[in-house]
């Protein structure tokens, strides 16, 4: 019986195929870990959004300002009139506090944005923007804030969440 070994070329090709297979397995793992991390950050973002909603909701009475000096008070608030600290200051304060609590350590690179949105049921011709916003609040009975979070693992896309906060038309007692 005569035995013949493999040629060097055969061995090299076999090695290459095995290596390619291993690289593929490792790649799958890397991709899955990346997904896992993304899911983790998404889940955390959801919990953080929930926390911000409660923080805003705790200020329901501050946001329902109509009881003090009638509706003008709310107009000043929404238009950031200097006589009032204003909606922008309110949003900035909450967002900063919330960010400082959650976006620490490995999450310090997260970005976020918080804005108030006003969806009125129908358009009234000739109505100015401020009146429309106040009417939207009165009609809906809630404030709507839109929160956008962009965790570091998200190369593109972001998480967007609407935060609904009670609005009491008659104001708090």
């Amino acid at each position: 019986m005569k035995q013949k070994g493999f040629t060097l070329l055969e061995v090299l090709i076999a090695g290459l195929i095995i290596t390619l297979g291993l690289v593929a397995v490792v790649n799958v793992q890397v991709a899955s870990q990346k997904r896992g991390f993304e899911t983790h950050q998404k889940k955390l973002a959801g919990l953080y959004a929930q926390d911000l909603q409660v923080r805003l909701n705790a200020d329901t009475c501050y946001l329902s300002k109509s009881n003090d000096n009638g509706i003008t008070d709310l107009n000043d608030f929404i238009s950031n009139n200097p006589s009032d600290k204003g909606l922008d200051a309110f949003i900035a304060k909450h967002e900063t506090e919330w960010r400082n609590t959650h976006f620490t350590e490995s999450r310090s690179g997260w970005r976020s944005d918080l804005i108030a949105v006003f969806h009125s049921q129908d358009e009234i011709a000739g109505e100015n923007e401020l009146d429309r916003k106040v009417r939207a609040l009165d009609d809906n009975g809630y404030w709507e804030f839109e929160l956008t979070i962009k965790p570091t693992s998200f190369k593109e896309g972001y998480i967007q969440q609407s935060l609904i906060v009670n609005y009491i038309k008659e104001g708090c007692k």
Binding site: V26, S32, Q33, N57, C61, Y62, K65, T101, C172
Partner: protein, 204 residues
């Protein structure tokens, strides 16, 4: 019978084969180790999320219907009082409640424990259960209801506790229990006394 003609491998061939297979083995071993570590990390993330969501929903549900909140033992124990549970109220130990009770949240041996206290037949009954493992620290901030003013969160106990409308729970998850996570994980969730707030808003 034909005599078999056999030729062995030379020493050089043997050595080269050995070297190549050692290289391959080293590669496989490294990737297996990396894969295992990645899987552990994924599992730890899962545990962390599970812990946070469970604690979060537990507290949210209790606080929502709570009448009163107390912070005891140097702000390390939160006591939530539920006076008139509705028909389907279930406490943190998953038991349906028909009478008033309080839930105490505290840390015992790095575990978050929920303790249910109620008065039955004139005597105080206590039952407790671990609801989350690996929680090393717990503290609370309370916000008092202020009419038409922004609420301020302060360490519970500094403010009068009658008109608390929101409580913030700060948790530290111990890294020792979440193996691959290198640092303690701090989380803080805010919870809102809906029942209480409704009363205050409508002025009852």
């Amino acid at each position: 019978m034909v005599k078999a003609y056999q030729q062995g491998f030379t020493l050089i061939e043997q050595l080269v084969t050995l070297a190549l297979s050692a290289l391959l083995m080293a590669g496989i071993a490294t990737s297996v180790a990396a894969i295992t570590q990645a899987q552990n990390l994924t599992r730890d993330y899962g545990n962390l999320q599970e812990t946070l969501s469970f604690v979060n929903s537990s507290l949210a549900r209790s606080v929502r219907v709570a009448e009163k909140v107390k912070s005891k033992t140097n702000n390390k124990l939160l006591s939530i009082e539920i006076k008139n549970p509705e028909a389907a109220d279930i406490n943190c130990l998953a038991k349906e409640m028909t009478q008033g009770y309080s839930e105490n949240y505290l840390i015992i041996n790095n575990n978050l424990v929920c303790e249910v206290e109620l008065i039955k037949g004139g005597s105080l009954i206590k039952e407790s259960e671990v609801i989350a493992f690996g929680v090393s620290d717990l503290s609370f901030d309370c916000a008092e209801y202020l009419k038409a003013r922004e609420v301020v969160f302060e360490e519970c106990g500094k403010n009068a506790l009658n008109n608390i409308i929101a409580v913030r729970v700060n948790l530290t998850l111990d890294r020792k229990y979440f193996l691959e996570i290198k640092k303690d994980f701090k989380y803080s969730g805010t919870f809102y006394f809906r029942l209480k707030h409704n009363d205050l808003i409508s002025g009852l």
